[in-house]
Symmetry: C2
Subunit: 245 residues, 2 copies
């Protein structure tokens, strides 16, 4: 049915080109090119897409969906790859795989950066740092709606995780975010401290909660099964927030 529909849908020249590009990336022609087209529309160009109901379409909804689908696929992949590792380990490794930096890099690796549309195409300002990673998630949302769960799962595992990540290295590379933050603060004249977050005086479950405070403002709260891990977690989040790397 979807196949037949494609025959009767007339594609614009732009859509034909996108269709070819998507085929090069995922290996098959899209059933519904409009999903992929939407996935490549950053919100900065959404005003042009305003539809009849005044709803401005951009890739943000697809990004929300793709984020959830990717999270589930990576969760299962790690669950099966590491049968004797605890939940805390799996969560940590997953967050390293799907964090903004990783997804930005991934978008460039598969050539998605050439397809994304946004205002100020040439600008390379800080605010654009997550455009590609966001588009990466939206792209996965589009694949899911277009081709279903099993196709998406196979694509993510075989073409993304296994080709573009060295998971063992991801596990071993224990980036010391705490050092990064401290170095950054010293260089730029900021104060940094960790404070314990004590909700009602009790620990939250078995996890420690720690705040990272920069110049008196809490930047992020980290959690982990040790104080050290909670600090690393808070430091990692802060590095992401402030684009420190």
């Amino acid at each position: 049915m979807k196949f037949l529909l494609r025959w009767f849908t007339s594609y614009s020249e732009k859509e034909k080109q996108l269709s070819e590009a998507v085929k090069r990336i995922i290996g098959v022609k899209p059933y519904n090119i409009r999903l992929y087209n939407l996935a490549m529309q950053h919100s900065s160009v959404a005003a042009e897409n305003e539809n009849i109901k005044g709803f401005k379409e951009s890739n943000e909804r697809l990004e929300y969906l793709g984020d959830a689908i990717l999270g589930a696929i990576v969760a299962e992949y790690l669950f099966k790859k590491y049968p004797y590792k605890e939940e805390g380990f799996l969560t940590e490794v997953r967050s390293r795989i799907v964090n903004r930096e990783s997804l930005n890099r991934l978008a460039f690796k598969i050539g998605l950066n050439n397809l994304v549309e946004f205002e100020g195409r040439k600008r390379t300002g800080q605010s654009h740092k997550s455009i590609y990673g966001d588009a990466m998630e939206a792209f996965i949302g589009a694949i899911y709606l277009d081709r279903g769960f099993h196709f998406t799962r196979r694509y993510v595992i075989n073409n993304l995780l296994q080709q573009h990540y060295d998971i063992d290295e991801v596990v071993e590379t224990n980036t010391n975010f705490k050092s990064l933050i401290i170095e950054w603060a010293q260089k730029n004249g900021h104060s940094v401290e960790f404070t314990m977050s004590k909700p009602g005086g009790h620990r939250v479950g078995k996890q420690f909660k720690v705040n990272l405070v920069v110049d008196g403002e809490v930047m992020a709260t980290g959690s982990g099964y040790s104080k050290k891990k909670a600090e690393q977690d808070a430091a990692r989040k802060t590095c992401e927030l402030l684009d420190i790397s």
Copy 2:
């Protein structure tokens, strides 16, 4: 193959009973009852399950998996149910559906509470508040591994979301968490304030970030597309953290 395996696997009496109970809940007999058995083992009984490699099996890994699978299914469900709602709305509604309180209630509604095993079965202390919600997630992880994505998706949508949630009510019930927190603080003699989290002076994407500070300690950071929404978000997280309702 899985079906054949079941014929050759001998079940203990306990497993047979659990198999019947699961069948009553999900409508079909499990292929692999051991997954469901594990899903019902809270970490407080894990020591008894210590295996040959010294790895203590409990439902925590399955909880991690089920959380991700449930998140993806609910994400798609809301994405399709609300085609003209923005990402922020979808994220908010999803978090209300899968938060700890909701999942605790859900576990009781489908009768999972009778199957969960934990130390101090009779105790009703605060630390046990999330046992059922956690088991609910682990149960979904077990269904996923046992029966695959499509079965799980159908079960979650048809039997959980549509039977046990009134989604329109979830959307409309805009619990005023900010009032709850302020009331709680007045009653118990705590100070409460909201502070803006200003990472490097710029807003994070289009979202506001706000910290909720109780007695000088940051409890949670909230985000949203308006300051008010960010405050509500921080207040909701704090209510969950401190079991305020």
